[in-house]
Structures are given as C-alpha cells and as structure tokens.
Symmetry: none
C-alpha cells in the first residue's frame, strides 16, 4: 500500500514513517501542503495521513480540495487533543478517521489496517496459514476448525507474523511490536510467548532460526 504522510513535526514524522515502513507499506513524507499537493498530483496513494496544523495552511483545506476533486482516497487525520473543532471540521470535510496525538503506534496500525480493509471492499478478511484460519475483524482463530482462544499479548505477537508472512522477525523486532516505546523488557518474554503460541496453534507454525529470530508461514525456502 502506498501512503502519503503529511506531518510537519520532525520527530513524530520519523516515527510514523518508520512504523509504516516496518509494516511493509511505501511511505512518502511531506511537511507542507504545497508539497503534498505536488505528490498527490503525480502519484496515486491508497491512504493519506494528514496533520491539520501545517506551516502553509490547514490540512482541512487540502482535504476539502481533494474531496471536491472527487478523490475517494481514504484520509486519516492526525490532530492534537485541543483542536476538537478542527477535528470535527475535518470529519465533516470528508476524513475517514482520526487519531488524537499522542497516539500509540499500534493504534495507528490498527486504523490503517481498518481503513485499508474497508477501502478494499473487503471488510471481513481472513488469513490462512497452514491449517489455521484467522479472522482479522472478529479476532477469531481456528485450527482445523476448532476455535483457539488467544490472550491479548498472544494475539499481538501472532499479528506481527501475520503482517509479514514468511519474514524472519528478530526478537527485538517482536518486542518493539508488543511493547510501547521505552517500556523495555528484561527477560525472555518473547520466548515464553512463542512457546505459548506454539502450544495453542501447533508446534509447526512457528519456525526458530537460531540466533536470528522466528518465522511463520512459509516452511520452505521462500517463494512469495
């Protein structure tokens, strides 16, 4: 998915960019409206992440312009807590969702996923990995038709693998996915959760790559 990020705050922009890139999407990051318009005129984007307070004007005007042009590209607004009226205007102007700063990156991921699913006209997608069937909106996993209950953390871990099937994920990557920035983990938590997932989903679903990390989904040397 190709995403345009319009955000003038340096630090935040970087973090978001990294996060999105990590999830395998292509990001273009611009810091003002005029650049955003330039990008939009040359490239098709599947999603727009739009800050409202920008150096050369309000994001709302950009949004209105886009909608007026008949573009249906989904838009998620990023806004500070004290800009409620702006937010409402933004929604009225045709945004699809909003996020109040500061937000968790996981929250951002979830919204992006939700918007893109809706946009793709596929509101109830399922993922199949081996004998597992995973319903992403219902958060239901069945193994050979039998429903398996996962705890929040277990699901979060599984999610990391679902998002990048067949990719080798290091323990620190997985930690980043599970835990908020800064809240460091001291013990072998990831190993423990890998173990718990294996117990619930079946031994063969998760492959250990010694010294490197873990991988799910494709057992053989990989085709896509």
């Amino acid at each position: 998915m190709r995403i345009l990020l319009v955000e003038d705050t340096e630090g935040l922009g970087e973090v978001i960019q990294d996060q999105i890139a990590d999830e395998g999407h292509a990001v273009d990051w611009v810091k003002c409206i005029s650049n955003a318009e330039a990008s939009l005129s040359t490239t098709h984007y599947d999603l727009l992440l739009l800050d409202l307070m920008l150096p050369d004007g309000s994001g709302i005007d950009l949004l209105k312009k886009i909608r007026k042009a008949g573009e249906a590209t989904p838009v998620i607004i990023l806004t500070a807590r004290d800009q409620i009226s702006d937010r409402i205007n933004g929604l009225n102007a045709g945004a699809d969702d909003y996020l109040v700063k500061p937000f968790d990156l996981s929250e951002l991921s979830a919204r992006i996923a939700a918007v893109s699913r809706r946009y793709a006209g596929n509101p109830n997608p399922k993922v199949y990995i081996g004998t597992l069937e995973i319903d992403l909106t219902k958060h239901i996993i069945s193994r050979d038709g039998v429903v398996v209950n996962l705890t929040a953390r277990e699901w979060a871990l599984l999610e990391a693998f679902i998002q990048r099937p067949g990719t080798l994920l290091s323990k620190s990557q997985l930690e980043d996915h599970l835990y908020a920035f800064g809240s460091e983990i001291e013990s072998n938590t990831i190993e423990v959760y890998i173990s718990r997932l294996r117990k619930k989903l079946g031994k063969d679903q998760l492959e250990t790559v010694r010294g490197m990390g873990y991988r799910m989904g494709l057992s053989g040397p990989g085709s896509t």
Copy 2:
C-alpha cells in the same frame, strides 16, 4: 427506488446524490425541513436520508412528525460524530439506521441496499441473534418471546454489536459509538452497560475477550 435526501451541506449532498443516482435510484435532494415536508406531501419515497442539523430545525422533529403520522418509510440518519446524543434521540424517534459522518460511499450503498431488502416484503424488519428477536424500527427486543425494555444507552450499545455481528469491538470503539467527541468518559461505564445488557438479554449473548474487547452473535452452529 425513490429516495429523498435531506442534507444542507453542499459538497456532501452532491456526492451522495451522485452515488445514489449511479446505483440507479431516483433521488430528490432538499436542503431544509420545509422543503422536505413539501416533497413528502406530494411524493411517495421508499427511503429517507436525513441529516439532523438543518437550517430550519432538527431532523429529529421531522422524523417524529413522520412517524406520528403513521408513515413507515424507512429513514437513515446522517449525523456527525459530535452529535451522538442527537443520534440516540433519532433512533428513539424511529430511525431505521444511521451513518456517522464521514462515511464511505460503499457503506452508504450497503445500508441503502439493506434497508430496501428489509422492506422488500416485510414491513417490519427484524434481526435475529441467538434467541433474540430485535425489531429494528420499533427498537423492541424479545427474548424467547418475552419483550425486553432497553434504555437509550443500552440500545445504543447493543446497536454497535448489531451493526457488526461477530466483530470484536474494543472498549474504546464502543465508547466512540456511545459518546460524543471530546466528552471523555473516565470510568468503567462500558463494563457497567455490558453487565446490564447481559442481565437483560441473557448471559451468553455477549462474549468478553479479555484485554481486547467484546463480541456478540456467535452462538450459531458452532464447532466445539
């Protein structure tokens, strides 16, 4: 199908009108209550799309008037995110469905299709979840044939689940559904209402997914 669109926002109105027309329905678009009443008095409509904030009054009053007159014409309310209390009133006043702005056009199409299907043969659309029978127009719920009375908030909560059967909804999603923008809730209100719904509808209707949210409507032909 003949549809009356009551919406005073120029841009949005145009978009909706186009969309509906694209789908082969006849649309009349008016921008205030008085014009709406004029149209309703001369023409039969199969569906009413009703914005709540209108220049010459609240759409709710119009809706009440219609229902009082015994008209069963299905009504879908279009409402902004900061008018949720209005929305609850609207549902109490006899709306069939609502859409929170901004909405996907595909969402709109789906609702329209759903409403027209519901009304295709039977004048009184009902939803069945487990042993519950839910009358969408009258907001009456029967459990094993016994009528259950819900308060506005209880209904609003239930509604969130009805709209997305089987979907896992987080507490914050449910809060978003129940409460207006900015009016933050900082107690365990959702839990309390979940508890009340369970008491009224039966223990098994709502499933807790610890750490993630709640889910309704999976009592079906289950695998164990």
